[in-house]
């Protein structure tokens, strides 16, 4: 059931997202709450795999709304993001209607009269019928509102950002032939970025800016717990502690939350009861994605396991 009313409190957001298996930090919950209260898009930045896209999915699931996703890439333009005229259909119709037009206009005595008659049909070929809505326009047309996810905006060109400005600030788009299309119900807009390039100030100004970093140990344990229910508490503590140790290394790609969840699944599958040197060495490729990183981490495995286990005892 779609619920378009804004949520009452930050706690309600937290528990709502948690029900969908998304454990949100206080800051994330505040951002979601505020974006509903003051109707602003959220721009989410952070390293890959910390749950930026997942956040949008969780909001959609929690609110019972449809999620519309626009994946950005270099060369994305308005024909693919906003709307396009179905020109094949337009062409086809003009051909089919050729005879019809002749009939209709046949009665006219002069050229001026024929023109007048033609005008009465209006711009039949530039009407809603022939517009192919792309994700952005679709999002505006959802009667029950929706979650619009504009994913990896930093991958698109700078021109595309300017295209988004109208939709982000006023929830409307202007199609020259049709006029302005306003949102039926303002969508919840989430933009994500991996900070590959700096986004324009105009875009940032229109959004709430949320930075999701790597979670704290406690929070990450809760995330793993909610995503991989089968994992024992000691192992969970150990593996999260281990990952936090790994993140202190200077690596090319640090393991993020999604890798932590994958690793937890792998450990459960292998029926490990606790971390030991063998099993970590064998499964390290789940966490680290570069040969050089694995080489850098391997000599440290034993000491990291020891540290992670010690933490488990005292906390």
């Amino acid at each position: 059931m779609a619920d378009t009313r804004p949520t009452a409190s930050i706690e309600a957001v937290e528990s709502g997202l948690a029900a969908q298996g998304y454990i949100a930090s206080r800051q994330i919950a505040t951002a979601v709450y505020l974006s509903q209260q003051i109707e602003k898009p959220i721009l989410v930045e952070g390293p890959a795999g910390v749950g930026k896209t997942e956040l949008a999915k969780a909001i959609a699931a929690w609110r019972g709304m449809k999620m519309i996703r626009l994946q950005c890439y270099e060369g994305l333009d308005e024909a693919k993001a906003l709307y396009e005229w179905k020109y094949a259909k337009q062409l086809l119709y003009t051909q089919i209607l050729k005879d019809k037009l002749g009939e209709v206009l046949g009665g006219a005595q002069s050229l001026a009269a024929a023109l007048d008659q033609l005008h009465t049909f209006g711009d039949v070929f530039f009407s809603k019928e022939f517009v192919e809505p792309r994700p952005l326009l679709q999002a505006l047309e959802q009667p029950a509102g929706c979650v619009l996810l504009i994913d990896e905006i930093d991958k698109s060109d700078a021109e595309f950002e300017s295209l988004l400005l109208e939709i982000l600030s006023d929830f409307q788009v202007t199609i020259p032939e049709l006029g302005t299309v306003s949102a039926v119900a303002p969508p919840t807009v989430i933009l994500t970025s991996n900070s590959e390039r700096d986004l324009g100030d105009a875009l940032k100004r229109r959004c709430l800016h949320l930075h999701i970093g790597f979670p704290e140990q406690k929070l990450e344990e809760r995330i793993v717990e909610s995503r991989v229910p089968g994992i024992s508490q000691t192992l969970r503590k150990q593996m999260v502690g281990f990952i936090h140790e790994i993140r202190s290394l200077d690596l090319k790609k640090l393991p993020s939350v999604s890798e932590a969840i994958d690793w937890a699944r792998v450990l459960v599958l292998l029926q490990a009861s606790e971390l030991d040197h063998e099993i970590v060495k064998d499964t390290l490729n789940v966490l680290l994605k570069y040969e050089a990183d694995i080489e850098a981490a391997t000599p440290q495995i034993s000491s990291f396991i020891a540290k992670a286990s010690r933490q488990g005892v005292f906390s």
Partner: protein
Amino acid sequence: MRENLHRFFRAARGAGVRVSPAESIDAMRAVAQVGFADRDILRDTFLLTLAKTQDEKRALGECFDLFFSQPEPQQENAEQSKTDDGSESDANPSADEHGDVSDDGASENVGPLAQMLLSQDRSAISSAIANASGAASLPDIRYFTQRGIFQTRILDAMGIQRLRDDIDDLTTRNPALAERLQEALNGLRGTVRDAVSQALLLYGREETENLRNEILRNAPLARIEPRQVEQMRALIRQIARRLRERYSKPRKRQRRGHLDVRRTLRRNAAWGGVPFLTAWKRKHRDRPKIVALCDVSGSVARVSDFFLLLIHSLHEVVDDVRSFAFSGHLIEVSDILESKSPEEAMKEIMSKVGFGSSDYGNSFADFEDNWMSAITPQTTVIVLGDARSNNLDPRADILRRIGERSKRLVWLNPEGRMVWGFGDSEMPRYATFCSVVRQCATAQQLERAVSDIVATYQ
């Protein structure tokens, strides 16, 4: 409370967070939703609405902690002082409240400030300071030179004149009490000084930094002091950001002559395919390709350091940079610069080639033997050095060949034009083969030089 929010926005701007009016409106709307009750949520709210980068978030977080660690002027005091016709200092009402609590103060007929100090009511004193700060318009403080005047104004507003008179009176009648008051006064001065310093930190940072940066921009890079190196690096990073913003604009240009069939058909669908409007293929512009040869001997080293930092922070604008460092001989340093922090990279480069006496001829020969193929007709070659070759063979013929192979050959010389050609400087001989020769001694000249180089590709 609105007044406080505005002061906070001003402090945020002071901390280097760019807060536009629209963002401050958003922040106020957001604050209206979450309220002031929970300070953590309030902090998160500001971080979400005002700060738009990671750096800004850090700066704003610090600013928030600093700002809200200050005692806020207490509401009832402010109201009462309004009813006092404003003729008396703002400190009076709270002093009246506490006047009868103090035995010593009450028995001796002393002024309100003295009573407050004797009763040692900390909250009253700090709120009195806050109110007096408001009266002295402390948020207007901009430069550290203004600290004295603001301290005086605040103390005046708190009624220090009366306190002095009290102390003078008491010295004869009750020396012990006078001594206590004198001590309390010294303590009060310290507190006010701290308050003013904190305000300067909050509100004056931007101006102070602008002033400092202005001086730094025009200081000769070769002679800056070690403690300024870090600031200079920050400045260079700023310059790099500015250049990036200016030149990383779209790189498409319409090229007439080649029809884009797909887009033309699409555009003219409405006219049954009759091409009224034509669309042309676009052409991508080249991004700059740069080969930099930097002298790292003696006094040029520091300039090279900053130059390399600048060039290597222009990733979005410059496609391809290869850097070479030389003094006696030449090595490629691109990898070192890419993989390490500026400090470490420079240290490593220096340990490999630095601090020898420079031999331009030998270094050019090294380059020609090993890396000449790096130069293509799209490449800009930048040589940074003072062209002082210790009377060794300058090998200008190699420089000529480099110039012929490349798009442009730019020579940046940290020395002033006056001394080019004097002593062992080979500048005039080299200059004949360069497209551009310019002086490059300060951060500002460095910015202009790099900006011009990048602009030729636009």
